[in-house]
Amino acid sequence: MVLRKRYPRYDAFLDTRNCSSRTNLDLTLEMRMGFRPINPAGGANTGTYNDYGSSSGTPRQIVKWTAAEWNAWKASFCSSAQAYWDAKFWIDNRQGAFALKVGKDVFIPNGYCRFKLIGSDASAGFHHHIIDVVRLAPSENWFGSHSTLYDSKDTNLVPKAYDSKGKPILQRAHVHEVGHLLGLGHVAIGQRGCPVTGDTNASPCYGTSDQDKKSVMGGGMRLDTIHGTAWLGAFNDFVAAQPQSPIYAPAPAKKRAPQVLMRRAYPRTVAEFEAGTLVTKLLPGR
């Protein structure tokens, strides 16, 4: 069974075809990004482009994209961002949904969270997001990007913050931006200096503690279970849309809210499910 649900930011697929006593269902978020190259004005090989694409932004030196560089950058962006977000989370299926029979036994799979990033030129096809991209000159080491304007060096690992000991906290900006495209906000929203309502771009929103600053939605590269929220939301939507299973329908008292895990949890038997056991190691014979 393959289910599909469309969201504005991505499409979600729930695939039970490979499910077994050892293999979970795949829950894949597929994001299509359309990229537009920004080149120097007038067909020149070099020129300038202002930070944020704003007339008041600082001009930065840019270089005309070649076809080879453009294609290589798109491929690098997509492969590295996909690798960062793919296969990092599992959904603990505490609803008992999507049960399957293996011989005489019934198993309840968890969700294996996959991420597929498909990038192409914005000029053709359907895209969830359209992004302009400038190619910075070699002399430039920074550009004022925003959610729909990236630069060619956004895939580089660079300091984005400093910890309490003055050590740099490094981040590849594009994985942070893809986090936003998955619907994630900054790490410290709701904390002091970063109100939930209003502009959540203030400096405190990126974290004031070392712990928060090192989050991918701060200035670092660390993933936490909160970052699996998009998969969790999709899983809950799929469960809500499912008719009652003829294989296994747990009593309401046995159901709990699904949770994001950052370690693999294998499919459970009904007994394991009802006992609330998390199977993180496969027993012999399973």
Binding site: T58, F143, G144, H146, K160, P168, A173, D199, N201, A202
Partner: protein
């Protein structure tokens, strides 16, 4: 008023300012660099103090030097550098610090006393893009 455009002119000015200000303070550059972080206090409280000559140019240079020292020690200094320093009054400056997706506009205010300048904790507003 100092402005970042053209950038080269601004960089040249900062270099000159840094050299000039070194002569108007009774503290070493290393001491100045440590001052803002070491003196982090409650909002509005004095953060650093320097002795300065009383003429307007010396005062401006002292204030800008203290601002630069504070930015250098700022744990949030990562980003696109300084794009603008602008006098908001004779005792305050607005500094633009571009970051990803936003510009942090920081206002530094100073208390001027005979022969010395005291910097208060800066305030910030964010311009998002």
């Amino acid at each position: 008023m100092l402005h970042a455009t053209p950038l080269g002119r601004w960089r040249s000015f900062l270099t000159i300012a840094a050299i000039a200000v070194a002569g108007c303070s009774d503290r070493s550059a290393a001491e100045n660099l440590q001052a803002p972080a070491a003196a982090e206090t409650a909002k509005g409280a004095p953060m650093a103090e320097q002795k300065c000559e009383n003429d307007p140019t010396s005062r401006s240079l002292c204030m800008i030097r203290m601002i630069l020292d504070h930015v250098a020690q700022d744990p949030d200094r990562a980003g696109g550098g300084i794009s603008e320093i602008k006098a908001a009054s004779s005792t305050s400056y607005e500094v633009a610090l571009p970051k990803e997706g936003r510009i942090v506009h920081r206002t530094y205010s100073f208390e001027v006393k005979e022969g010395s300048i005291r910097m208060n904790a800066p305030t910030e507003r964010v311009e998002s893009f």
